[in-house]
């Protein structure tokens, strides 16, 4: 079974803090994605990566950056957390050329 693991289920941070959300997948998938999930808005793509050190902006990249130094790991970085970044963050991975995405259980981030 594909496993996508997000390092934290819950995080509470202060406004202005630098926040790292980590995601690891164990199936050698080329593509990895970070989404933000808010009620009534579905999943919105923040960034995705199709290879090591490669990244592309999604629909809502403002206030976020990403890092992919190894194929299995994709990190989402909030340079200076703000209250409007309080949300559920989901990581996903997929094989190149395939549309099925496999998701982690999510990290619920609260920025106070």
């Amino acid at each position: 079974d594909v496993k996508v693991t997000q390092s934290s289920r819950y995080l509470v941070k202060r406004t202005g803090e630098k926040v790292f959300l980590e995601c690891v997948q164990d199936m050698d998938h080329e593509n990895m994605f970070w989404y933000r999930q808010d009620p009534g808005l579905g999943l919105r793509l923040i960034y995705f990566s199709y290879d090591v050190k490669m990244k592309e902006k999604g629909d809502i990249p403002e206030g976020y950056s990403v890092s992919r130094e190894k194929k299995e790991r994709f990190s989402l970085i909030l340079e200076s957390a703000s209250t409007n970044q309080t949300s559920m963050y989901l990581c996903a991975s997929s094989l190149v050329g395939r549309t099925i995405q496999y998701f982690g259980a999510g990290t619920r981030l609260s920025v106070l």
Binding site: V4, R9, N31, F33, Y35, P39, G40, L41, G42, L43, R44, L45, F48, Y50, E56, G58, D59, L90, A92, S94, G97, R98, T99, I100, Q101, F103, G104, A105, G106
Partner: protein
């Protein structure tokens, strides 16, 4: 920007009732997926529909892709409490990375 609107946003029904969830867009998709997300977990793929007019059945769940490949529906017959969750449609937007465009979500609660 491609958008996928789902209706209804919330649905609370009694065990044994039937229901239909709709996923609509003004854009054409090469294929469309349905995911279910249970509390505390990430979305899990239920089905992919590819051909306009296609109907797929998964036990008590029936999925249909519109003839013009712009919309889809999910019908659940005799709902069970285990069907409770967030249902998300996702259109495949095409391109090399096969990014998904997620719908706004339908939260279903089936009361015993």
């Amino acid at each position: 920007t491609q958008l996928l609107e789902q209706s209804p946003q919330f649905l609370s029904i009694q065990e044994g009732e039937n229901l239909t969830v709709y996923c609509n867009s003004s854009s054409v998709f090469s294929s469309l997926q349905w995911y279910r997300q249970e509390p505390g977990e990430g979305p899990v793929l239920l089905v992919t529909v590819v051909t306009g007019g296609e109907v797929k059945k998964l036990k008590r769940l029936t999925f249909q892709f519109g003839d013009a490949r712009k919309d889809s529906s999910l019908h659940i017959t005799a709902a069970q409490p285990g069907d409770t969750g967030l249902y998300l449609c996702a259109g495949v937007g095409g391109g090399a990375t096969n990014k998904l465009i997620f719908g706004t979500g339908t939260l279903l609660a089936v009361q015993p």
